[in-house]
Amino acid sequence: MANLATKVCGVTMDPPLVLASGILGVSAASMARVVRCGAGAVTMKSCSLEPRAGHKNPCVLPFEHGMLNAVGLSNPGVAGASKVIAEFRTLSRAPLIASIFAGSVQEFGRVAERIAEARPDIIEVNVSCPNVHSEFGAPFGGDFDATAAITRAVKDAAGAIPVAVKLTLQCPSIGRMAKVCEDSGADAITAINTVGPGMLLDLATRRPILSNGVGGLSGGAIFPLALRAVFEVRRHTGLPIIATGGIATGDQAAQMILAGASVVGIGTGVYTRGVTVFEEVARELGDWVDSTPERSLEALTGAAHG
């Protein structure tokens, strides 16, 4: 089978399949299990400076075409997250991406500085969570200047650790936003975050089911949106792309590679195909690579732009 090992910002991921942020990324044991189930790297759930409780249940709702969630960025704070990183290192040699978020540019810098001390392989900057609107206002990721400032602040604080900025589709142009991140020092782009927020109502009570009322949309429903976003990011920048958004099959992963992704993140796919989705997608992706004239993942990356 084709060699699928891929280097992103100097970090080797084999296979190039990453556990997406927000899924099973709360404990070292659960992330290590995801690696045993075939993931080439894991992303932790986003952490903030201080611990957060998040929203009440219901906070995750499967529906006919995907998933709606408003977990509310619950996390143990950067100190707790740093302990999880240290524990993960004792259990697994797979690369770990630490996701961070904050309420201001300065705070992003402080969280980045603290998490950098725990030596994650990559720091992912979540400027695009749609589920904490009432607390933080519209995501920074919709604003070029704010995203640029956050990217610079995190880069300054991260030292030698590569920085990936996780973008939202909901900005004037995700391609231009990626270019802004590149110009501000970003080393990679993660695209995309959940879309929305969206809503689901219960007919009998006539109320939203999510305790937060609204939540981010993920899963199969957003795959074509995510694919288009990755395609645009690739057109505007030369940065490596971690593609996330509704990927659950080798076919979808292959489309992301052709659109320009270096590695592919899987989140809701853990629900639709189970936790062994990683080894299944790796096999399917490998079969696809073998079936192409190039027989090389690297040669196929971005081939849709040829």
Partner: protein, 243 residues
């Protein structure tokens, strides 16, 4: 009922003891003993509960008032609509061969009651032991005081005055069982697991953790040592454990 949230009318409420009630809903889905459902009180919260029986299209959930959510639930009346999704998780799967020993401790009586009745309805025999601190803590006291199960209490207020693990040890020493199926406090489960191991029989143990998504995504219910998700690979774990 499925993974998606829907509200269902509460058909009936039966009070067993103060602060201990069974709630009945109509159900159209296949639920296995040991599985759980997520119960939503609109505007309040959503929590996981074991199913204590499914019979004739009626799903029964038996709840003890222990916190704000369960106290609020105690106020619900027939006709009110509550949200249900599920069933979730791996059910009890006793091995074929000699009958299993079913052990319910405290609130762990609920899923074992379902398993006991489920086996009975299929003409399969089992030995059922329940253990609580005191008689007032026993769910379905009227059924078990009548001899449907062996009862032990810490204080001797009902049945034999014994600690649950001691009684299990005695039963395992005197008879061969195919599987030990149990639910209850984790400290009790860990003793029962060792007892089953020492007798060379498999154990099927139901564990509890805080659950948020119930569909294997959020990671809240993962076990600390091996990362297994209790909402998917559990709540009933069999040894040897899956990957």
């Amino acid at each position: 009922m499925d993974d998606r949230m829907r509200t269902w009318p509460l058909l009936e409420v039966v009070e067993h003891n103060p602060g201990l009630k069974s709630f009945y809903f109509e159900t159209d889905s296949e639920v296995q003993p040991g599985q759980f459902i997520m119960l939503w009180l609109p505007g309040v919260d959503e929590k996981p509960f074991s199913v204590s029986d499914v019979d004739d299209g009626r799903l029964e959930v038996t709840v003890k008032a222990v916190g704000p959510f369960t106290r609020k639930l105690m106020e619900c009346r027939p006709g009110e609509r509550l949200g249900l999704r599920g069933p979730f998780g791996r059910p009890f799967a006793p091995a074929e061969g000699p009958p299993p020993l079913l052990v319910g401790g405290g609130c762990g009586v609920a899923p074992l009651r379902f398993l006991h009745r489920h086996l009975e309805r299929r003409g399969l025999s089992s030995t059922f032991l329940v253990g609580v601190r005191t008689a007032a803590d026993l769910m379905f006291r009227e059924e078990y005081a009548g001899g449907l199960a062996m009862v032990v209490t810490d204080d001797g207020s009902l049945g034999e005055r014994r600690l649950l693990p001691d009684k299990v040890g005695e039963l395992l020493a005197n008879q061969t069982y195919g599987t030990l199926c149990a639910a209850g406090p984790e400290v009790v489960l860990s003793t029962l697991k060792k007892l089953a191991e020492s007798r060379g029989i498999p154990s099927e143990l139901s564990y509890e953790r805080h659950m948020k998504c119930a569909v294997g995504l959020c990671g809240e219910c993962c076990l600390e040592d091996n990362g297994l998700r209790l909402c998917v690979e559990g709540p009933v774990l069999r040894h040897p454990l899956p990957r």
